[in-house]
Amino acid sequence: MTAVQANNLWKYYGDYPALRQISFQLETGQCLALLGRNGAGKTTLLRILAGLSRPQQGILRVLGRESRDPNSRASIGILGHGIALYEELSALENLKLFASLYGVADPEDRARRWLERTGLDTVSDSLVREFSRGMRQRLAIARAFLHEPVLLLLDEPFTSLDDRAIKLLQGLLGEALARRSTVILSTHQLREAMELSTHVALLHRGQLTFYGERPAEMLSDPTWLYRTHGES
């Protein structure tokens, strides 16, 4: 089945085209690493896929439905630059809130389970305000995975995670892929991303200059893609 089908997407900020003519198709169970230099348009694309922003042109189908369809939104997990957690609520309350918003059956139980999985169970009652940056990122990851989404859109998920947390996240992603979920992640930490990704897309100034299966070269030399397909 096709998880994401994008056809000739254009996104302008004012007159500036942040995305130009983006077309690709991703099947379920695949993991796409969205690469590109700073300001290439990765975040913009992910936000459009998540339904947080509308492209001015082009057709987008996510999980076989219109983007912004409530049913498809329920099966998407997002993790953006902003961690989207409430500073004045505790870790547990944050997760419970999002579990309820996503209509999970037993929010409390689910929230506790994910706190445990992300290693935050000892601080479940502390306010997010008191968390260190890595702890926040862990909690944000828990929030994204909480409702067992079928499509995961992760924007630089490895940011500020320590070595153990990176292993943890890779494990979670591996599991999700094994369940035939689809993952799209953008990152600058190529080494960590390459272990998992089946596909690679390279954005360059809003255009897709490479899209396809992960080239074998990238495992040993992560910047290979930039050198061959990005303008130097």
Partner: protein
């Protein structure tokens, strides 16, 4: 252990003293000519205002010292004295209101002294409110201390209100402020008798609140330590 004994002792003394004062007030002193029996409320009205002003003054000093030394003991002293001070403010307001009801026929009027007394009460309630709103003890102590210093201005204004505005509320009566002559010496004597008794009571309450506060702090520390990441 000895600290506790001292506290009990002080509490006992103030209780006995207050009972003795009540006896003198109710049975030994005669009624006042114009007001009749109700004037006796003066013996609680005025000392409780003095006590709360003292408490607020103490709190302002403690807050200043906290900001200087960052020693949380000062902070504890500041809260405790504000809390006790607010309690005595409420006593002052209540006794004043009752008195007003009997002498003037209304509970409340927007007279400068009364209004400022209410404002002072509000300011210090704001202080307690602000404290409650912080989770982090360090910033709670710091911000509350700053507020406490600002707040003391309203105490000064309340105290001076009778001099600055023409008020319905009676002017100064104590001979230390007027140079004497506005009040019967026996009555004034009684105010001076009741004040230390109330102060002693206040001191006991402050000490108890300080102990409670310290214990709570330790409890919070234990909770955090067991839940470390």
């Amino acid at each position: 252990m000895t600290r506790e004994r001292v506290l009990y002792l002080m509490g006992g003394i103030s209780a006995i003293w207050l009972v003795r004062n009540l006896y003198v007030m109710l049975l030994a002193l005669p009624d006042e000519v114009e007001q009749g029996a109700i004037y006796r409320i003066l013996f609680f009205h005025v000392p409780s205002w003095f006590t709360c002003f003292t408490g607020f003054f103490l709190a302002a000093v403690a807050s200043g010292l906290y900001l200087k030394t960052k020693n949380s003991l000062w902070d504890t002293l500041a809260v405790a004295s504000v809390e006790v001070g607010v309690a005595f403010t409420l006593v002052g307001l209540a006794t004043g209101s009752i008195w007003a009801r009997i002498i003037w026929g209304i509970w409340w009027t927007w007279d400068a002294r009364l209004t400022w007394a209410l404002i002072t009460c509000l300011v210090y309630m704001g202080y307690l409110m602000l404290r409650g709103a912080f989770d982090d003890p360090t910033s709670r102590a710091k911000n509350a201390a700053v507020l406490c210093i600002f707040a003391f201005t309203s105490v000064v204004i309340t105290f001076k209100a009778i001099d600055w505005w023409r008020t319905q509320h009676p002017g100064a009566v104590l001979s230390i402020r007027t140079g004497g002559g506005r009040i019967d010496p026996a009555m004034e004597q009684m105010i001076y008798q009741n004040w230390p008794a109330l102060m002693l009571l206040a001191a006991v309450l402050v000490a108890i609140r300080m102990r409670q506060e310290t214990m709570q702090r330790e409890l919070e520390a234990l909770r955090r330590r067991t839940h470390a990441f």
